[in-house]
Symmetry: C3
Subunit: 159 residues, 3 copies
Amino acid sequence: MNMEKSSTLVVFNGDLDKAIASFIIATGSAAMGNKVTMFFTFWGLNILRKDEYVPVKKSFLENMFGKMMPRGANRLGISKMNMGGIGSKLMKKIMRDKNIATLPELMEMARDLDVQIIACAMSMDVLGITREELIDGIEYAGVATYLAAAEESQVNLFI
Amino acid sequence: MNMEKSSTLVVFNGDLDKAIASFIIATGSAAMGNKVTMFFTFWGLNILRKDEYVPVKKSFLENMFGKMMPRGANRLGISKMNMGGIGSKLMKKIMRDKNIATLPELMEMARDLDVQIIACAMSMDVLGITREELIDGIEYAGVATYLAAAEESQVNLFI
Amino acid sequence: MNMEKSSTLVVFNGDLDKAIASFIIATGSAAMGNKVTMFFTFWGLNILRKDEYVPVKKSFLENMFGKMMPRGANRLGISKMNMGGIGSKLMKKIMRDKNIATLPELMEMARDLDVQIIACAMSMDVLGITREELIDGIEYAGVATYLAAAEESQVNLFI
């Protein structure tokens, strides 16, 4: 058994507010010297999408899902009071005004702190998301990899 | 203290996508040799409802709640982009087309792997759901039973 | 390392049903002799707001957010079938009729059982919520305090 402390987060939701909470916990834990693994699944995968449109051959349904889901950290809505994106814009404005780290900044911080970012391969298949559409520097794995990390972790969360 | 590894999941939400995630984690963990307990509470109880209508004497409010909530694993919506059930149907079609296990199949797998399925007695009381309306082979208990399992578990999640 | 058992909950959502679930788990765990910490962040802060309006000098955006978010445990909606507040009212009526503890009663119980209630300072800043607006007898801290508690806990949940 590994004696190093660790935290493992499942990021299931793709809302801006929950994404921010996930990365604040992840970077906080990594800054305290813990090994941190984030496992992005279902709508959480949208957080990892590249900002720009990536042309990929997809089935009709995959294409439709892809078009309807937000493309990357800058386009996420918030889980309450989103009001068609206005809530999300306001929250980002407030955070900028108060000098609180934005989601892209938190994600960069996570990378600098060696937080392990894993995209759930099965969810990618279900939602028709390909590797080319996701940001660089991440890993791809399934539930067994997640569970192996989770079993050794002191802090396990499903967000 | 029990030296066997274990996972305990609270399944609070009754969305198809979260139910699938719950059972993938539960069956994955059980397949790795862990003891797995799933505690279904509030809307999560809808996952355990029988497919067919079960006539039970209920109060007006209980009846209304019962009618408005989805009856079983085949009728759940998804937590995002459900679009009145279209999103849920599309996700099920995609999963069938790609040969990914459906929720009813995952639930059968969970049973075969001896995953312990507990329905929260207090939530059943609040939502007016009776034992006759839930699938067979499950247990009924309260928060103390959940907590006793959770305290011994390496992986605890609230889904 | 602390040998006392403990549970640590992040309460991110501000829905009545999730708040009730949080406090049932928290009071249940405390009643079993565990140290319990609840960390309220983002919309979860609304659970801790005082019932009455507290005049505080705020920016335009903070004021708007403050007006749109529910003020305290008695005004929360439920996460499903809220129907503009009707669902929430019905659930409260059912719980009263069945003599199940209401959210304010559960919160009082939590206090009696010495459950530690922490409001997330960063989220307060983002949502423009001040100390004067929150109930008495709580603490204020950041993610490092949360993580320190979480790392020592057997049960960690994100609700």
